[in-house]
Symmetry: C2
Amino acid sequence: MTSGPRTYTLAGRFDMYRAGHLDSPVFAYETWGELNDAQDNAVLIFSGLSPSAHAASSADDPTPGWWEEMIGSGLPVDTNRFFVISVNSLGSCFGSTGPASIDPNTGKRYRLSFPVLTLEDVAEAAHRVVGHLGIECLHTVVGCSMGGMSGLAYCVRHPESVRRFVTISGATRALPYAIAVRSLQREMIRSDSKWNNGNYDPADPPITGQRLARKLGMMTYRSAEEWAQRFGRERSTDHASDDDQFVAEFSIESYLENHGIKFSGAFDANCYLYLSRASDLFDLAEHGGSLEAGFKRLQLDRVLVIGVRTDVLFPLVQQRELAEGMASVCDDTQLVELDCALFFPHHFPTA
Amino acid sequence: MTSGPRTYTLAGRFDMYRAGHLDSPVFAYETWGELNDAQDNAVLIFSGLSPSAHAASSADDPTPGWWEEMIGSGLPVDTNRFFVISVNSLGSCFGSTGPASIDPNTGKRYRLSFPVLTLEDVAEAAHRVVGHLGIECLHTVVGCSMGGMSGLAYCVRHPESVRRFVTISGATRALPYAIAVRSLQREMIRSDSKWNNGNYDPADPPITGQRLARKLGMMTYRSAEEWAQRFGRERSTDHASDDDQFVAEFSIESYLENHGIKFSGAFDANCYLYLSRASDLFDLAEHGGSLEAGFKRLQLDRVLVIGVRTDVLFPLVQQRELAEGMASVCDDTQLVELDCALFFPHHFPTA
């Protein structure tokens, strides 16, 4: 038997960072391990765009989480030692309030009436959960991909309440190439006639556009060289006939097709659009007027910046920029450049 | 006043490389300069996927061609010295027979009844034009992007009739990343309901899918670093209001949008699908059983391989492979690696 995440419903108004507000939003979260008496062992995890709060299995929900290999007894994020918190991003569709949720003021789904979402809002929602759990200062914030930027938003907005930061394939802000990729992904969904300007039937969503967007995403996770090694020009075994010359013929096409199908419908299209846009909008430089000023607001004791050499969406050049900025305000900053990743931060099972 | 290209209609049957045939196909071409008495100064140009035969202006058609800066009096391809021939690719829609042409046997457009197209067919069609012009042996074959592969197909299928070869951002075959990009571009078009399994009204083509495919193509022409330098996080001046939060906000988005619109409808969708697929299918190793055997079939006196460092579709690693293979059979082989290109071989005005 599995149960869903716990939820915390904020009493009253939640002001959004850019404009507008939400009334009584819900924040879905899960925790693992125990908060110690000193209340100084809490670790907050920010996910990439698409995962739920279910980062790891638990007694309540024994199904594997999206970071099952990382969080647990004796694992890198050791639940014997840490009290681990994972919050479903505000704007997502796995329990936290988002465009697919019912607006309490209208009784209807928000859809495109949801206010502009930023990663500052995602961070603030998580901060409210942390406060709700009675924690004043986090041992560590960990964030992957979009979550790396959400985590950075958390650290710069609440510098007094976090001691350490681990960013994996994050960034100080999105570069044009990442914006172009996400912009095109959004356009693929918006171009699907089923999207219907956001007013699709949840039972009949714009899955064609979502599948295309997913495939484009997949193409940014590995470099062309990795793909050449893995697939070469191998023919797909699915390619049984010449009846349709535009079906998948090469293995690489079947691979993308299978992953594209897996994703279809698993994530609400409007939620995807909002979170994708939020990733474009984030810019540390907004916090103080420049990147330098943004870094100066941080009060971290220790920072770990992890990047992957083959990542084209958050390239190493951005990891180095992040590490240099961190080192300018935190002596204990370490940069780790991985040649490749068995685990791809932008690419979770549910992503 | 401008006139269209000249055409040569083959009398009878043209067998396709993979299977099937065309009856009395038309090949559209243009020429510049004069064939000399020795008939040894002919240069054949193969274009990328989308250009017409109009590579440069002429007395017949003074409008600028897609390679206006390269072909002409005193220019790199010097028309005072060379007799230059450019053939619209077989399968294209600018005068040569393709899926948008009328099948003489049915009186209707070929659409998806057009046989599987390969770059060997594109090369063969050009070879027929060369023969029609009375030329036995070409001074040089020049090919860019897809045309680099078409040119290679020409050299390996008619080794006795070409002396020199210039390949710009070509390849011995497509790698998985390039296949993935093109496969996704094709799927974007096929997913547009207006495509209607190829049976669209030519006056109302699947321009949404074509626009998306064009944008994805644009994203492969420059590296992420180049884009960062050019666009940064500059906001678009088109972004006048917040009415629609998913309109283009960043300059990079406006840039892609403007180029996407420019392309829409300029190229027949079915022709695009066929030529795109042909690019995936080409493999020099089919000619002899291995790349090595394919190279050994060539009888070239001189080869120039040009690649662009920032090209992700035909990366430098492929240019080096091409140059090494060429050098193994032709001592006078030169490789030139450009840091960037003002002129992008995959990206012509009409492309």
